[in-house]
Amino acid sequence: MTLALALEQLLNGLQLGVMLFLMAAGLTLIFGVMGLINLAHGSLYMVGAFACAAVASATGSFWIGLIASFACAAAAGAIVELLVIRRLYDRDHLDQVLATFALILIFSEGTRWLFGSFPLYLDIPRLLQGAVALPGGAQYPVYRLAIIAAGALVALGLYLLIGKTRLGMRIRAGESDREMIGALGVDIRTLYTVVFALGAALAGFAGAMVGALQSVQVGMGEPVLILAFVVIVIGGIGSIKGALLGALLVGVVDTMGRFLLPQVLALFVPPSQAGLIGGAAASMLIYVMMALILAVKPRGLFAAAHA
């Protein structure tokens, strides 16, 4: 194994982690502020990807598509919050799980209705095509580097938003004491809608970015959603810092596990067996990691005040 290969795999893990962070940040924010578990977050990821694909093919510009993904997912989030989600804040988690599970069915079938069953394909914009040389003689796709950069920018933006702005102050207040903030005269209903739309927009943005790399299809958000759950459980539900750390941890461990486990096993068993068993073991690795972390810290690495 060369250094270049290890570096490339590390970057791959980082890129996966950054994507997961965009999903997990919204989930954890919504839980932290409103105490709501939202299974339909993966559907908003899908909405973003479809919006980007549809607009990009209509206008011929990926960049307009990207903006559309942000806007459409935020709009879908706001509508869903107004129509359904706000009725769920004072319900128990069981009702929230079911209502948002129902939303998944509606979103998935609805999208299939609109766009058909065939996957859509987005092309990577010309500016970000191809690969660049890395130190050590390796090459790496420009687009994946761009995803990492975009994720880092969003993380920084969220940090500034929550730490330095009025909206951020209200969010922090909402996280620590929900009754108090209402008493302070903040319009809490609007705040909730804004936070939900913000989380949705982040998910939609992630969906559009990944859509160009893979394919845009119904159900694409579900595997990501479950990984994002693992991320926020590890990081501590409600904590943005935990989401970032958890996302990077899951991204890197998952990628490195898939890459290294078969190789380690190959020292003991024939290569084709090693590939099969290693693959099976690697797919469970992050769940084992989650179990271990929870065995030590039942509320995750950075548990929020309430959960």
Binding site: N12, Q15, S117, P119, Y121, G130, Q214, G275
Partner: protein
């Protein structure tokens, strides 16, 4: 008077045997019409229906249902078709896992199953069945052909497939004929959409060729990401990864890729020319390999129905086994395990005007049999 009666019975019995042509025959088609694999199922349905239409036999009725690529759903539909609709023949399933859920119990209930695509090893050898026919190939065939082809120019190969039985069969089939060195054998997750980790391994492998079996959406995602990665090692694969239905989505990244197939649009024979023309006229697009296989399955059933009553299992089976059809593939006959014996070619993805398509370069195998037929005792 007696004479008259016997003459009447004679006439009756003659008309009965003559009527064999018009015995009602009900076919249940279960295929994938929604979800990521829908393209394959739609081609299957359309190819099959074209053959039934051309046969012009009004007594053949086809009912079609969508399995959504879900095995449970396929089983439920099959139960309904057998118990409630009382079909005589089942067909149409694209995926090996769905086939394994449906076909064994269908033949156990005395129904014919004619496969239009899926051909798992488990049904080709020891567990072959008189009521199970495969009009497509055996799963390993196209991988074996690429293994044989790679012997010519490639010393070191990187091989990969999804981690499921058909993926394992694929790499086994490739290695059965490939004599060079295999640098790595990688199994990816089924339905995987990001291949960054595998591409990194390819880059570092030092191989001079990559054999990838990634059907449907997996192949599309892989090829698009591979084109962006800057890795220049040439890719080859079995025909289904580069079939007509996925070429458009992969785009120019597929140009020049070598792949194996038992059919291509430009295969030079009369039946093929007529088929491609008829398919284009009917549906306004080029047929894929799935359409051809289903077309042949439709032809097989129609040809048997013209000569025997499906209720007479033995006679119907004998007629199917004769394979009295004009296949767009050219030669077509059944082996002892009721899987085809046919020629397999290497094809290259080329641009024909604006449309990406496959062109035959050279035959790899003639009259190729699968490796399991010898274990079939029928």
């Amino acid at each position: 008077m007696k004479k008259l009666i016997s003459a009447a019975t004679l006439a009756l019995s003659m008309s009965v045997s003559g009527l064999a042509v018009a015995e009602p025959l009900k076919i249940g088609m279960i295929t994938t019409l929604s979800g990521g694999g829908a393209g394959l199922g739609i081609d299957t349905r359309d190819g099959f229906m074209l053959a039934i239409k051309q046969a012009g036999n009004d007594e053949i009725e086809v009912i079609t249902e969508d399995d959504g690529q879900k095995p449970e759903l396929a089983v439920q539909i099959a139960d309904k078709m057998v118990q409630s609709d009382q079909v005589d023949i089942l067909t149409g399933i694209v995926w090996s896992n769905l086939l394994m859920a449906v076909a064994p119990s269908a033949v156990a209930q005395g129904k014919f199953y004619v496969s239009t695509n899926a051909a798992p090893a488990a049904l080709a050898g020891e567990n072959c069945n008189p009521l199970y026919f495969n009009a497509a190939y055996q799963n390993d065939n196209l991988h074996e052909a690429m293994g044989e082809y790679a012997n010519k120019d490639y010393k070191k190969m990187f091989i990969m497939a999804p981690n499921y039985p058909a993926g394992k069969d694929s790499l086994t089939g490739f290695k059965r004929f490939y004599k060079g060195e295999v640098t790595s054998e990688v199994y990816t997750q089924v339905g995987q959409t990001d291949y960054a980790a595998e591409i990194a391994q390819i880059r570092a492998s030092g191989a001079d060729g990559v054999f990838a079996f990634l059907p449907g959406g997996m192949g599309i995602a892989f090829m698009k990401q591979y084109a962006q990665s800057g890795v220049k090692i040439s890719i080859m694969g079995p025909g289904f990864s580069f079939s007509q239905d996925v070429l458009g989505a992969i785009g120019d990244a597929a140009l020049g890729v070598k792949n194996s197939g038992h059919w291509a649009k430009d295969l030079d024979n009369e039946a093929n020319k007529k088929f491609v023309e008829a398919f284009q006229a009917e549906y306004g697009r080029l047929p894929s390999i799935y359409a051809v296989q289903a077309y042949d399955a439709g032809q097989l059933i129609a040809s048997a129905a013209a000569k025997a009553d499906v209720k007479d299992t033995e006679a119907f089976r004998a007629e199917l086994l004769k394979a009295d059809i004009q296949s767009p593939r050219g030669k077509f006959k059944f082996n002892i395990n009721q899987h085809p014996i046919q020629d397999i070619y290497v094809r290259e993805v080329v641009k024909d005007g604006d449309v990406l398509t496959n062109k035959i370069i050279a035959p790899v195998f003639t009259d190729h049999e699968d490796a399991y037929a010898k274990d079939c005792k029928m």
